[in-house]
């Protein structure tokens, strides 16, 4: 039963990924710059979180 649940969930996730595979927003220069900055910001934040985690372990 658990295996069936996970299999169904994986199928649903694959279907969602297929449905939204192509972004529908016009990728203007502004959109590209904003998304790039957002990626950079999130990488920085994750870096800080990892640093804090390592610091807490020590």
């Amino acid at each position: 039963m658990i295996i069936t649940f996970f299999r169904n969930t994986a199928q649903t996730v694959r279907a969602i990924n297929q449905k939204y595979a192509t972004p529908h927003l016009q990728t203007s220069r502004m959109v590209r710059v904003c998304l790039g900055m957002l990626r950079g910001y999130l990488i920085l934040l994750i870096g800080i979180l990892v640093f804090k985690f390592v610091q807490a372990l020590h």
Partner: protein
């Protein structure tokens, strides 16, 4: 006779407009008042106790900030008929969609725990055991959504919003110094002692409580579930404006209460303030405790719904409050599951509740900038929004507000992780 008929005509027109507004009103008021959740009330009571009436002007300034951000969700929801999670998936693809959805689920769940902490602390003052509060709150919240009608849920939520205004009559019980309040409200100034690190931290906390990621997801989904159309947009915007006024009123009166009765005292949480109030005036302590419980309950209702709507939109489940339990089993199951899971954590002996509260601030920081940036980009998409896209003035205001919120919430999150960094 002509004047009388004109007056009568105008009266009827006003009455009609008011009736129309009352039909449309709901999501804006609920989201804004729910914004003053358990964490918000704690921040306001601490602000009043530490800095008196000196920062009321700052809280008033945060009203328009909340309005400008939330108003965008009304337009986006009414035009696209999609909730925010679905809109992100559709516009930016599955990578950003999953990031937003999973981050929202985690943030909401952690925030829900803080709401339960607030509710249990509030009722503990009256001797109610934590497990009774958790079970009672879960039952009330489940009963509210299982009515099978959005309209019923909304009106019940509005009753809880009305209860959140309990701080207003409570403040009148203590005869606060009107002159000082007016000075603190109308003249922007820093408290005696100037701009210190403590003050900066508290200002960041106040801004942090003004806009939360779940608010964006909640209001847009609520607008869609309510079925608001483009023609209802003005009503929806007025609703949001009324809500932003109410949120400032509640915040200001919380500050007035603690500034008058507990000046200079260190307040760690709103429940402590309520206990201290009990010593001064039993009725006031009761009011603050009831207000704190109500704030936690209202916050938990909206936060849980924000996640359930988001999941329903993306997974394609039936996800309307107009559906009966049988028609939308996954939507309601998820809603109740989140409630029970968050409530259970509070009951675990020795659960790291302080760490969870800290984590909420940090995790919210990862989602809020993304949600705000997506909101502005979506509102500028000519193809989707047409004539309802952001004007130049709205873009200037919203980009400025977003930049400020990102900067401040990032500093707030970092200062939560490294408390000595900004001192």
């Amino acid at each position: 006779m002509n004047i009388l008929s004109k007056l009568y005509y105008r009266y009827k027109k006003i009455l009609k407009t008011l009736r129309l507004y009352l039909l449309i009103a709901g999501p804006g008021i609920i989201v804004m008042v729910a914004d003053n959740d358990a964490g918000g009330i704690t921040t306001y009571t601490a602000t009043g106790a530490q800095y008196g009436f000196h920062l009321i002007w700052f809280l008033i300034l945060l009203g328009p900030v909340a309005y400008y951000v939330q108003e965008m969700t009304v337009r986006l929801g009414a035009v696209t008929k999609r909730g925010h999670a679905e809109a992100i998936f559709h516009a930016f693809g599955s990578f950003w969609g999953w990031f937003s959805l999973l981050d929202l689920v985690l943030t909401d769940w952690l925030t829900m725990i803080t709401e339960f902490i607030g509710m249990t602390a509030a009722l503990k003052i009256f001797g109610v055991p934590a497990w009774v509060t958790v079970i009672g709150a879960c039952l009330i919240m489940s009963w509210m959504v299982l009515q099978g009608r959005y309209w019923t849920w909304e009106k019940l939520a509005l009753v809880f919003c009305g209860l959140n205004l309990i701080y207003v009559p409570a403040a009148f019980l203590i005869n606060p110094p009107i002159h000082e309040i007016l000075r603190g409200s109308l003249i922007p100034h820093f408290p005696p002692g100037g701009f210190t690190n403590d003050l900066f931290f508290l200002l960041m906390a106040n801004i942090g409580t003004t806009i939360a990621p779940w608010m964006i997801f909640f209001q847009q989904s609520a607008v869609v579930d309510k079925g608001l159309q483009e023609k209802d947009m003005v009503g929806g915007e007025v609703d949001t404006a009324v809500g932003s006024v109410l949120t400032v009123v509640v915040a200001a009166f919380c500050v007035i209460l603690t500034a008058t009765l507990l000046p200079g005292q260190h307040i760690e949480d709103a429940a402590t303030a309520a206990i201290k109030f009990m010593g001064v005036n039993k009725h006031l302590g009761t009011c603050l405790a009831i207000g704190l419980f109500d704030a936690g309950l209202l916050g938990a209702i909206c936060i849980s719904l924000a996640s359930s709507w988001a999941f329903g939109e993306v997974f394609g489940w039936a996800h309307s409050l107009n559906h009966k339990l049988k028609e939308a089993p996954w939507f309601y199951a998820y809603y109740i599951f989140v409630l029970v899971l968050a409530g259970t954590v509070v009951l675990i002996p020795g659960a790291p509740l302080v760490l969870i509260t800290l984590f909420v601030q940090v995790i919210a920081v990862t989602l809020l900038p993304a949600a705000l940036v997506f909101l502005i980009l979506l509102l500028n998409d000519k193809e989707t929004m047409g004539e309802y896209r952001n004007t130049v003035f709205q873009n200037i205001a919203n980009v400025g507000i977003t930049a400020m919120i990102i900067l401040v919430s990032t500093l707030y999150g970092i200062s939560a992780l490294f408390p000595n960094l900004l001192k």
